[in-house]
Amino acid sequence: MTLALAVDIGLAMLILAMAGWTIAVRDTFASVIGFVTYGLLLTLVWVRLAMPDVALTEAAMGGGLTGALLIGGAARLRRTEAAVRTERPGMLTRTLAAVLSATVTAALAICVLNLPDPAPTLAPDAAAKLGSTGVGNPVTAVLLAYRSMDTLLEAIVVLLALFGVWSLAHDRFWGGCPQLRTHADSEGILAYFARILPPIGIIVGVYIFWIGADFPGGKFQGATILAAMWLLVIGAGLAYFPPISQAWLRILLVAGPLVFMVIGFAGIVTAGAVFAYPIGFAKPLILAIEIALMPTLVLALALLVAGAPQRMPPQ
């Protein structure tokens, strides 16, 4: 048994154990910590599977936003948790839940076991046509040239999720500011940290975005890093979320998908098909879409973590 195989088996066991523990543990905070660790393990697994693009996304999402989102949720639910724990669902509910989970697991297992071997792949075709897109990273080519419709819909889904969160706002706070539940000390270590890290973090975020054209990286990973930096500054009490009624905020939020759609539908005239790029213009158009999507994603991801507006802006 080689070392690499031993490490892979160890990682697989560890990830199963961590997943099981995260579900089994009753305390919400402990469970969230388990989930953050699980995300780190997933990052390592994606690297071992030679998928650095996915590993990068998991590192940014799992390490940055998901943890903050879940911890915020756990903090909000804490007061109701004791009451929830004393309630035990009836035997019927639990049996039904168990049967349903077992069925889903079995169906998934059957699907995985019946996958054709070797798996059908479009990878050679994707690599062969890479030259016509002008980008060097096949993942970026798939996301923004071959299957750009999916990417557009993903960006719209993120926006719809944000509208869903906003719709939870109390009527009198509609158009107000979301708030992180912080009690920050502007002289404390956190404020210091939030002053030092974001300038470098912004460079790293833009770098990850920029190399996405030719190497693993891209707008989504870069946007996640930038959103995390913004949340850090706000969490340290050095800045505040803008009111969601601000025109600039709403314009930036829709600008990304809008530019994407305009370029996509312009393809009917310029290249003969929806989401086709005229020959020779693929790279600049892809770049334009990515740059337009960047602020949309940064704002949407950070505001998703922030939750519904909770106060009116000071007059």
């Binding site: 905070f29 804490r78 270590i189 956190l190 940290f193 890290l197 470098i200 790293v204």
Partner: protein
């Protein structure tokens, strides 16, 4: 000269690995949160720091080298911040307010 740098890498990486061993033993064996925190920050600073130091001669100048140094500086900054914040939390009981 190549040999000398390789030996440097081996020594530094082994020393770094030792601090991860020490960090884990400390985290598992020390009696209270503050002492465990001490073990954790040692692994953060010295373990990762020595590994980075050892890897520097093996990387391509300039981009990879700068990235490696940046990673260590991020880890130092994160370790110092998290160490203080966690120590505060640990002194208050280490869990949600009862």
């Amino acid at each position: 000269m190549k040999i000398a740098w390789d030996i440097f890498t081996i020594v530094a990486v082994m020393a770094g690995s030792f601090f991860f061993l020490a960090g884990t033993v400390g985290l598992l064996r020390f009696p209270d949160p503050l002492t465990r925190l001490h073990a954790l920050t040692k692994a953060d600073n010295l373990g990762l720091g020595l590994v980075v130091l050892g890897l520097l001669p093996q990387t391509h100048w300039p981009l990879d080298t700068i990235k490696l140094i940046a990673i260590w500086l991020f880890a130092l900054l994160a370790g110092a911040t998290v160490g203080q914040l966690m120590a505060c939390t640990a002194r208050r009981g280490g869990g949600p307010p009862k």
